[in-house]
């Protein structure tokens, strides 16, 4: 863990938002909405919560993260690079021919990614397998897993929802990025998840809720989740805003995936972020 002061956190979050927006724009298209809704959460995990060693990405005792909504990979790549898992210069290659950083999280090519994901609904099962492996080995590490709200439509999540409490995987801490939007519109209109907290509680999970853009709320909630270890896995429902920070796209249907056909659109998206411009690290 690092000591990141509150003001440093805010500045880093703003810089990561800027960098991720630029990464996606320069590649010509990308899943910006669900990446920007996770900036504070992934930043908190890798700077304040998870036990990791950037110099030893395969460290056996490390905490794991499965980004089940693999399309949000650009923010995870950016945080990993800033945390020192690989050179920041790689970030400029997102989705480029021959890149190590493809659109969806890839453990085969990216140091620090713990599971390859991209087909929705599979990550919570994999995270359960990792948590089970830790239990079998008697390791103390936690396994984190971030699922999307649209992704929650997938039935496999609910197979894992039954499995993890049955196996008493209290080292599994999942997060639902509940930004209330999926590709075709609001989750409430496409396939309503409510009452979401009650569903997870009924499946035998601890359920916590937080505002996913408030660094103190996020930190407190993760610390609470880590302290539970009561024989149950924990689901944190993170209330977030899709494309948070981008004034054009924020909370808008259609923010899931953007096309950036020209430099003018690219500039518009950078300008839509409140605050300063940053020097790009690539």
């Amino acid at each position: 863990m690092t000591t990141l002061q509150e003001n440093e956190f805010d500045r880093l979050a703003a810089e990561l938002r800027y960098v991720v927006t630029d990464m996606i724009c320069r590649s010509g298209s990308g899943h910006i909405g669900g990446a920007l809704s996770l900036v504070e959460i992934i930043l908190t995990l890798y700077y304040r919560v998870m036990k990791i060693d950037p110099n030893n990405p395969q460290w056996t005792e490390r905490d794991r993260l499965v980004l089940s909504k693999g399309h949000a990979a650009p923010i995870l790549y950016a945080v990993l690079a800033y945390r020192g898992f690989f050179p920041k210069s790689w970030l400029g290659t997102l989705n480029a021919d021959g890149t190590k950083l493809p659109s969806h999280a890839d453990a085969r090519t990216v140091p620090g990614i713990d599971m390859t994901t991209g087909s929705l609904g599979q990550g919570l099962s994999a995270a359960s397998g990792m948590a089970l492996a830790a239990k079998k080995d008697g390791r103390a590490n936690n396994v984190y897993c971030i699922i999307g709200d649209g992704e929650t439509n997938e039935g496999q999540n609910w197979e894992a929802a039954l499995f993890a409490p049955h196996q008493k995987l209290d080292n599994l801490i999942a997060v639902t990025d509940y930004n209330k939007l999926q590709i075709d519109g609001f989750t409430a209109d496409i396939l309503d998840l409510e009452p979401l907290a009650e569903k997870w509680r009924a499946f035998g999970w601890n359920v916590l809720e937080m505002f996913g853009h408030d660094q103190n709320d996020i930190r407190r909630t993760f610390l609470h989740a880590k302290s539970l270890r009561n024989g149950k896995p924990t689901m944190i429902i993170a209330h977030t805003i899709k494309a948070y920070g981008n004034k054009i796209l924020e909370n808008a249907a259609g923010s899931h995936n953007i096309k950036v056909p020209d430099s003018q659109t690219h500039e518009q998206h950078l300008a839509a972020l409140s605050g300063d411009a940053f020097t790009l690290p690539y």
């Binding site: 919570l124 099962s125 994999a126 397998g129 089970l132 492996a133 080995d137 496999q156 197979e159 499995f163």
Partner: protein, 316 residues
């Protein structure tokens, strides 16, 4: 486990005993089941001997593959067993992404291949698992024919990294090999030597093919019998060596004729050494509840059909 008499047992029990052997050799080997552990032969054999290495996931095959991928990413070697239909087609995307694409060390065991699902009927009778698994990159596919070969393939699977699929016959079957058998991926086994026609078989059909070859020998038809336990990698060179001699090949499999063993033979020969080929198997139909005799007759891949095709292609 008495290695000399493995063929006297149901092969599913051999699966259970071999898993115990593998776990005793390497405690990272895990047995995953989806509520069919008695059918797979691991309950009570593995459950009692190694309860810590036995995980019943419940009737949730997608989750089984995902959990296996997570275990494998932490150095475990999970063997996931269920009926062929659920082990492959039901979880095709989970295997594709979480196992093959992600390159996780997960072993998948499909039990009761093809017509051996008899009493469960058409919904459970899977004729396409070999074909669909062949079409998946980074996946090895094996279809052993007897208890000794099952044991050797399982050892190979545990000792070598990567996603692999094996068809597991559940019933007791006659011995084709013995306790000295050593499986080699990408190699065929020459079971009979002959100059007139190449007969290529795999899995359940091999012990029938052996009888056919012996009976045809008495008629003066020389069958060069290749058994292919390794569907992928496919033993291309062994096949070509045989057809250089015979100039004709008959294939027989307990699968749809599209995309399986016959498909692999045709792909290989049409590109490298074109000769006449006759494929036997299920002609692009679903299964149904029926006896083996009825199904062989209906679909045309019983011993008489194999014989007739071999005779025809041996003439040329």
């Amino acid at each position: 486990m008495n290695l000399k008499n493995l063929h006297e047992q149901e092969i599913r029990l051999v699966y259970g005993h071999v898993l115990n052997e593998l776990i005793e050799k390497n405690p990272n080997v895990f047995c995953l089941e989806a509520d069919l552990s008695k059918a797979s032969g691991t309950n009570p054999i593995v459950l009692n001997a190694h309860p810590k290495n036995f995980i019943n996931i419940g009737v949730a095959e997608a989750n089984m593959i995902g959990v296996a991928a997570g275990l494998a990413s932490d150095g475990k070697i999970p063997f996931c067993a269920t009926f062929c239909c659920f082990a492959t087609r039901r979880v095709y995307d989970q295997i594709t992404i979480s196992v093959a694409y992600a390159n996780n060390n997960v072993k998948i065991i499909g039990t009761g291949p093809g017509i051996t699902q008899g009493p469960n009927g058409g919904t459970h009778m899977c004729f396409q698992d070999i074909a669909i698994m062949r079409a998946m990159p980074n996946m090895r596919i094996f279809s052993p024919c007897d208890a000794y070969e099952v044991r050797s393939v399982l050892h190979y699977m545990a000792e070598n990294y990567g996603g692999m699929y094996m068809q597991l016959l559940r019933q007791q079957l006659p011995a084709v090999f013995d306790e000295h058998y050593q499986f080699q991926p990408g190699k065929a086994r020459k079971l009979r030597d002959g100059n007139d026609v190449t007969l290529v078989s795999t899995g359940y059909m091999t012990h029938f093919a052996l009888k056919v070859a012996d009976e045809l020998a008495k008629e003066g038809v020389g069958v060069d019998l290749l058994h292919c336990p390794s569907i992928k990698p496919f033993p291309e060179d062994d096949l070509i060596e045989s057809v250089r001699k015979t100039n004709a090949a008959v294939t027989v499999e307990n699968q749809n004729m599209i995309g399986g063993l016959g498909g692999a033979v045709c792909e290989t020969l049409s590109e490298r050494y074109p000769v006449r080929v006759k494929r036997l198997g299920v002609p692009d139909r679903f299964g149904e509840i029926a006896t083996e005799e009825y199904l062989f007759e209906k679909h045309g891949f019983g011993m008489e059909h194999i014989k007739q095709s071999c005779r025809e292609l041996a003439k040329k």
